[in-house]
């Protein structure tokens, strides 16, 4: 996979995620509806915040690096509820 041809999906497929059935991050679309800055959309390295045509945000927790960027850049109280996933779940970086 040379870089020029790789899609974002392929990029994310290089990291391993052991997905838990419960979401560890929940985004309250109602709070996002009138957010004009949308910092999370640009900053999330996994691009998990996707704006919808009706001005909302869809969030999918599955391929999350658990970095914390989103709750730190979001300045709206109550928009993001953020926890670590259950032990043993979530991102797993590889050993050689």
């Amino acid at each position: 996979m040379s870089d020029s041809t790789i899609s974002f999906q392929e990029r994310m497929a290089t990291a391993e995620f052991r997905v838990h059935h419960d979401a560890h991050i929940v985004v309250d679309g109602k709070v996002c509806a009138d957010c004009s800055t949308r910092e999370c959309v640009v900053a999330c390295p996994a691009s998990l915040f996707v704006p919808t045509s009706d001005g909302g945000i869809v969030f999918n927790y599955e391929q999350c690096f658990e970095c914390g960027t989103c709750y730190i850049v979001c300045n709206r109280e109550g928009a993001i509820s953020w926890h670590y996933p259950e032990g043993g779940h979530g991102v797993v970086f590889r050993r050689t």
Binding site: F65, N75, Y84, R95
Partner: protein, 435 residues
């Protein structure tokens, strides 16, 4: 109070946590080391260079066993504009021999290796276990942690929080005043695979020798920096980005990495290398400005959880600061448990050790450096100005005679719109920090 389950609970199997557990367990205390990932290191990423000399005491001849990729014998600092690159390149053969200096290593390998010493010392490692909160007594002293396991409460005389940059434990204990986006940078990295011989040739190194390149000015309009490190048959290339600027510039992290990789000075180095793993992690960037209180009754905070990572432009060192602070937290816990006083006062040996060693000495010395390096002038004006000075000095423009350096300097400073006063002030700050 009834007898606690163990003497010490260490939260987080990163470099800070493992060193704390090694010290406490070797002193004969009962120690549990909790890690939320399936193995220590599984959640952890960084740029790529460890400076392990602090391990001399804990693990003599650590270099014979440590899972390193290459010994860094060549260190470059690059300044980039869109079309120019100025590099200061240093090599030392001494760095390729014991006791070495820096080494590239993968964190899942390194952290897993180090945690093995904690287990060997008698600490009980529990992986797949997320700590979800603190247990406190009526007076507010920390007396244990809650985990997400069934019946997962664990009481201890001392809790050592080594839970990394987001440290929910330090926050829950009220040790951080606030978390401000401007105190953090986001690191994104691509691990690329490339045959060893190709790396050796491109980077002009042999055997297990490797290269560390720190890059200023390669992140477009976003304030930050870049890095490129050689593994044995991999490259690590990535950027470190100041958070508030990122959204304002509407540039996504992976686009900025792509931009760096496409730079004329970088592209030939990474050409043909294939993406093996994409990853991201936060860095506590602001040093002393953001450091929390690190001791409270029954609890110590070490490593990134206490913002002890040193991020000062040409230096990005966190693992050594984490290992050292973990060690000192372990020592202070041992002292306090033996003395039977785990109050804030009983644990004060931790702060003293931090103050007396490089951990806080380096931070004090470099306290202005993070802000200077991430300032708009250093990020967006100086690289172009300095590169232009170099270009004009080395450009042979016959039949014109060579201009004097002073004149070039003055002209380029004006052209870049840098006021002399600001240049002098930044130079002075830089001199006092780095000099």
């Amino acid at each position: 109070m009834s007898q606690p389950d163990v003497d010490v609970v260490v939260v987080g199997g990163g470099p800070a946590g493992s060193c704390a557990a090694i010290v406490a367990a070797r002193a004969g205390l009962s120690v549990v080391l909790l890690e939320r990932g399936p193995f220590p290191g599984s959640k952890n990423m960084y740029g790529g260079v460890v400076y392990p000399r602090i391990l001399d005491e804990l693990i003599p001849n650590w270099w014979e066993e440590a899972p390193i990729q290459r010994w860094v014998t060549r260190r470059s600092t690059m300044m980039l504009t869109d079309t120019q690159a100025l590099t200061v390149d240093f090599r030392s053969e001494a760095w390729g021999k014991p006791p070495y200096n820096g080494a590239t290593a993968f964190r899942p390998d390194w952290d897993h290796w180090l945690a093995g010493y904690a287990e060997a010392a008698g600490a009980q490692l529990l992986t797949d276990t997320t700590v979800v909160g603190l247990i406190r007594d009526a007076k507010g002293a920390v007396v244990g942690v809650r985990t997400d396991r069934p019946d997962g409460d664990l009481t201890a005389r001392v809790v050592i929080a080594c839970d990394g940059v987001n440290s929910f434990l330090a926050k829950e204990a009220g040790l951080y005043e606030h978390a401000d986006a401007k105190h953090f940078t986001l690191g994104v990295k691509e691990t690329l695979s490339l045959p060893k011989e190709v790396i050796d040739e491109r980077f002009a190194v042999r055997d297990r020798h490797g290269v560390d390149i720190e890059i200023l000015g390669g992140t477009g309009k976003v304030n930050g920096g870049g890095f490129l490190y050689t593994g044995l048959d991999t490259l690590a290339v990535g950027v470190v980005l100041k958070l508030p600027k990122l959204a304002a510039q509407q540039q996504r992290p992976e686009q900025l990495v792509a931009g760096l990789k496409a730079h004329p000075a970088i592209a030939p180095l990474v050409q043909g290398a294939e993406l093996k793993e994409y990853s991201a992690h936060l860095i506590p960037e602001a040093g002393l400005t953001m450091m929390p209180k690190m001791t409270t009754s029954g609890m110590l905070v070490a490593g990134d959880a206490a913002a002890l990572c040193l991020a000062a432009g040409i230096w990005l060192e966190g693992v050594n600061f984490a290992m050292a602070s973990g060690m000192y937290a372990g020592e202070a816990a041992v002292e306090a448990v033996h003395a039977g006083d785990v109050s804030e006062n009983g644990l004060r040996g931790y702060q003293r050790r931090l103050s007396d060693t490089f951990v806080l000495k380096d931070h004090r010395k470099l306290r202005r450096a993070p802000e200077l390096v991430l300032s708009d002038r250093v990020q967006h004006l100086y690289p172009g100005m300095i590169a232009n000075v170099a270009e004009r000095m080395f450009h042979v423009d016959n039949p014109h005679p060579k201009p004097g350096v002073r004149r070039i300097l003055a002209q380029e400073r004006k052209k870049a719109g840098v006021r002399r006063r600001d240049l002098l002030r930044d130079g002075w700050t830089g001199f006092r920090s780095f000099g």
